[in-house]
Assembly symmetry: C2
Homo-oligomer: 135 residues x 2
DNA sequence: TCATATTTGCAATATTGTTGCATTTAAATA
DNA sequence: TATTTAAATGCAACAATATTGCAAATATGA
């Protein structure tokens, strides 16, 4: 449960962190900072930004960015590794062209690709199409 | 050449647009708005933002975003299609972990992936590793 | 060359995120 | 349980990035 998740990531248990984490648990899709703000009734914006930053640093959540000023956040899968600069996922970031929502979809394995002149260590896949509800 | 590129995209030929487009031509990697600003000696910031926006709308350049507030711009390949919401690339966005530069690398074909419950129309791949110069 | 729609440049403003610092709080220790 | 201390919070100020409205300037088609 929520408290254990924070403990596992060595994050101090504060009521604000529990509230923020609850918002993530309540969503099955990636959410924007503004979605978190809407879900909280009374909060300090600076503290929220710092909370998000520490959640990211500890590998509790990850950031998803897409062209067009789309910045979202989503819970990491529990076995998620966090490395400097890049984030190792075994999932795909999918954006629905209709509802615009972004989902993290687990995949068994990512395809390997190789390029001349570039050594690829990690890849991230962003897919666009239609989700089950919008198809 | 530069003027033809603008004409092809039905963008009016203004000296400012030619200057901005020249900055893109001078670079083999993706550039940030600040890189354009540095390359221009005297300019209006608002006009630059609008120029970038119209270049993107007409499919002359495209936006590349990566986690960590990295937003860059790069010329589209000439056969580039532009669709609402997503941008069809047959190239990979590669970021070097050492020099941090982002390159658009053409690939013959992107791997096809499929997910249950999601209909994938386009995918974009973001790769991290080391470029030829930093390896 | 003229008419017109587009582009530019300026001012004001919005959005998003950060830093410094004093206060409060969680959790480790006695 | 009481005490200590390092981390987290809340406030003020600020920084970076981007947008809107509007008048003046300019590119292009007739």
């Amino acid at each position: 449960m929520i408290e254990q998740l924070l403990k596992d990531k060595r994050l101090r248990l504060t009521s604000f962190r529990k509230e923020v984490l609850q918002v993530f648990m309540d969503n099955d899709k990636a959410i924007a900072v503004s979605d978190i703000e809407d879900a909280l009734n009374d909060f300090d914006r600076i503290t929220l930004y710092r909370t998000i930053k520490s959640f990211i640093e500890k590998g509790l959540i990850h950031e998803i960015v897409m062209p067009g000023d789309v910045k979202k956040l989503a819970l990491c899968p529990t076995e998620c590794h966090h490395e400097a600069g890049a984030h190792e996922h075994s999932h795909v970031h999918f954006q629905c062209k209709k509802c615009k929502e972004i989902f993290c979809v687990d995949v068994p394995a990512l395809p390997k690709i190789s390029l001349p002149n570039y050594q690829i260590d990690e890849i991230e896949i962003q897919a666009h199409g239609f989700c089950a509800g919008c198809r």
